[in-house]
C-alpha cells in the first residue's frame, strides 16, 4: 500500500491520512480497491485535525526492537475523521501506563525531525473541553 503521502506529510508537520474519494469510508492505509464501494485507486488524502480517541492499547514489557526499550505503550487511535492508526502515546511516565483507558481523548504531536518521522498522541487533560 502506498503510504508515501503519509510519511511525506509527517516530514512537513502534517498528519495526512486517507479515505475513499468515491464513498468517503475511512481507509488507512489505503488499499487499491475501496473495501466498501469497490472504487479503484480513489484514495483521497487529507490533513486530519489530530484529535482522536484511544481505540485500544497494549503495554510492551518485553524489548523486541532496538530503539524501543520496554516498557512502552502502543495504541490504536481512532481519529475524529474516522481512520485508525497504530501509534504510541507520549507524556505518560512508565508508572502511569496503567492509567491509559480505551476511549481516552488524545491529540497528535508530530516529530518531523526523527527518521522516519512519527506521529504520537498525548492524552488530553482529564475532563478537558473538546
Amino acid at each position: 500500500m502506498d503510504v508515501r503521502p503519509h510519511i511525506e506529510g509527517l516530514r512537513v508537520g502534517e498528519l495526512r491520512v486517507a479515505r475513499c474519494g468515491a464513498c468517503g469510508v475511512p481507509a488507512f492505509p489505503p488499499p487499491r480497491r475501496c473495501p466498501r464501494c469497490g472504487a479503484h485507486d480513489a484514495a483521497d488524502w487529507f490533513t486530519a485535525s489530530g484529535r482522536g480517541t484511544v481505540w485500544s492499547f497494549a503495554v510492551f514489557h518485553k524489548t523486541y526492537l532496538p530503539g524501543h526499550p520496554a516498557p512502552y505503550p502502543v495504541a490504536v487511535v481512532e481519529l475524529a475523521e474516522g481512520p485508525r492508526l497504530v501509534t504510541t502515546l507520549t507524556g505518560l511516565p512508565p508508572e502511569d501506563l496503567r492509567d491509559i483507558r480505551v476511549g481516552r481523548a488524545v491529540t497528535a504531536e508530530i516529530d518531523a525531525h526523527r527518521e522516519p518521522p512519527r506521529v504520537v498522541f498525548r492524552p488530553d487533560p482529564e475532563g478537558a473541553a473538546r
Partner: protein
C-alpha cells in the same frame, strides 16, 4: 460428497528443544504417519508441506515423486486450509493418498515472533501488510496484536484477568494428562495472576510454548481407507474465510463474522448440529483467541465467553472440552497441527486419561486473518 476422505495415519515426533532441523523432524513424522497407516512412501502420490525449509529436499530425501505437490507458506493460519486443500485434491482425483507434512525448529532456532529473527514472513512479526506504519512505534509481534484485541474486548465486555486465566489453567490441567506436553506442572489462577506481562494485558502464560516438532497426517479416499490398518477418521468438511482486507489493524468483530460463517459451513456440509460437537480444538496461539473463537462459532453470545468458560465448560468432562492435549499453551506450539492430531486421536479413542467419552465429532477452528474450521468424525 462424491468421494469421502479420511485420515488414515498420524505421526508426531518428540516436542521441546530438539536441536534438529525442521525438515528432519518433518521426515520423522512422515515415516511415523506412514507406519501408523500401514503404508510406505511408494503409496503416497500427493505431498503437502508446511513450514519445512525445503519441500524439494524433503521429497528427495524420502524418495517422493508425487502427482500433486503443494508447499504452503509458514503461517499457522494455513493449517485448516491445508486439510481443506488436500481433501479437495483427493475428491477431485488429482491423487489418491496425500501426506501432509509439517516441521518446526523455532525453539532451537531462537524464534521470538517479534524481534525479526523468526526466519518467517511479516506474519511472524505481527499481522498486517505495512510495517512502515507500525515498526516506528515499536509495534511488533502477533502477541501484541492479540493484546490489542483483548484490551478492546475488556473495554466492551468487562473481560478480566481472572476470566482469561481459566483458559491457561484449564489447558494446563489437560496437559497434565498428556505425556507429550511441554508444560505439565499444575497452574493455578494465582500463579497466572502473579506471572509477568509480556505485552500487557497478556501474561506470559497467555502465550503458546515455542517448540520444535514434526507432525504428519496421511489422508486418502474412504474406499481405500477401509482396507488399511487403522479405523478411518472422516474429514467431514472444511471451510475458510479470509479477513485479509484491513488486516493491518485488529478486527472490529474479533473475527466473529468469519468464524460464524465457517462454523455454519462445516456443520451444514457435514450434516451435523453444533450440539453434536463432542470436543473443540481451538487455535490457541494466545489465550484470548479461545474467547473470540467460542463467541464467533456461536457457543455463546458476543462478550459472554468470559462467563461461559468460568464453570468448567471447556474442561474435560464439561459441555465442550477444548484443547484436550493441553493445546499450544501447554502441549506446545505446532501451528495447529498438534490440535489436528489431537482431534484424530480423540476420535480413535487413543487419548487414555484425557479421552473424551464416546467422542464422535471433533471440530478444529482457527481465528486469524484466514479463519478456518475442519470437522472430523468417526462416521460419515
Amino acid at each position: 460428497m462424491s468421494s469421502p476422505v479420511a485420515v488414515v495415519g498420524v505421526g508426531t515426533t518428540d516436542y521441546g528443544a530438539l536441536g534438529r532441523p525442521a525438515d528432519d523432524l518433518a521426515g520423522e513424522a512422515l515415516r511415523a504417519a506412514l507406519a501408523d497407516a500401514g503404508l510406505s512412501v511408494t503409496d503416497v502420490d500427493g505431498l503437502l508441506t508446511h513450514r519445512v525449509d525445503s519441500y524439494e529436499g524433503l521429497a528427495a530425501e524420502h524418495g517422493l515423486d508425487p502427482r500433486w505437490t503443494v508447499p504452503l507458506p509458514p503461517e499457522g493460519r494455513m493449517t485448516g486450509p491445508a486439510v481443506q486443500l488436500a481433501a479437495a485434491a483427493l475428491r477431485e482425483g488429482l491423487c489418491h493418498t496425500v501426506a501432509l507434512v509439517y516441521g518446526n525448529d523455532g525453539r532451537t532456532r531462537g524464534a521470538t515472533y517479534g524481534a525479526g529473527n523468526s526466519g518467517s514472513t511479516a506474519a511472524g512479526e505481527g499481522y498486517g501488510t505495512t510495517p512502515a506504519l507500525t515498526t516506528p512505534y515499536g509495534m511488533t509481534s502477533p502477541g501484541a496484536f492479540s493484546a490489542l484485541m483483548l484490551q478492546r474486548h475488556r473495554h466492551l465486555h468487562g473481560t478480566t484477568e481472572e476470566h482469561l486465566a481459566t483458559v491457561a489453567t484449564t489447558f494446563r490441567a489437560h496437559a497434565a494428562l498428556n505425556p507429550r506436553a511441554l508444560r505439565r506442572e499444575p497452574l493455578t489462577v494465582e500463579d497466572y495472576l502473579a506471572s509477568r506481562y509480556v505485552v500487557a494485558p497478556l501474561h506470559v502464560l497467555d502465550y503458546c510454548q515455542i517448540n520444535d516438532g514434526g507432525v504428519a497426517l496421511v489422508l486418502t479416499t474412504l474406499d481405500r481407507a477401509r482396507d488399511l490398518r487403522r479405523t478411518p477418521v472422516h474429514v467431514l468438511a472444511a471451510a475458510q474465510r479470509g479477513r485479509l482486507a484491513g488486516s493491518d489493524l485488529p478486527p472490529e468483530d474479533f473475527w466473529a463474522g468469519a468464524l460464524g460463517e465457517v462454523g455454519e459451513a462445516v456443520l451444514r456440509a457435514g450434516g451435523r448440529r453444533r450440539e453434536d460437537v463432542d470436543a473443540l480444538m481451538v487455535y490457541d496461539n494466545f489465550s484470548p483467541n479461545v474467547l473470540f473463537t467460542l463467541e464467533g462459532l456461536g457457543w455463546c453470545r458476543p462478550g459472554e465467553s468470559p462467563e461461559w468458560i468460568a464453570d468448567g465448560r471447556i474442561a474435560l468432562g464439561g459441555e465442550l472440552p477444548c484443547n484436550t492435549s493441553g493445546g499450544q499453551l501447554s502441549e506446545g506450539y505446532l501451528q495447529g497441527w498438534g490440535l489436528v492430531v489431537e482431534a484424530v486421536r480423540q476420535l480413535r479413542g487413543d487419548c487414555g486419561p484425557r479421552q473424551v467419552a464416546a467422542a464422535r465429532t471433533v471440530q478444529y477452528a482457527c481465528a486469524a486473518p484466514i479463519v478456518s474450521s475442519v470437522l472430523f468424525a468417526t462416521e460419515a
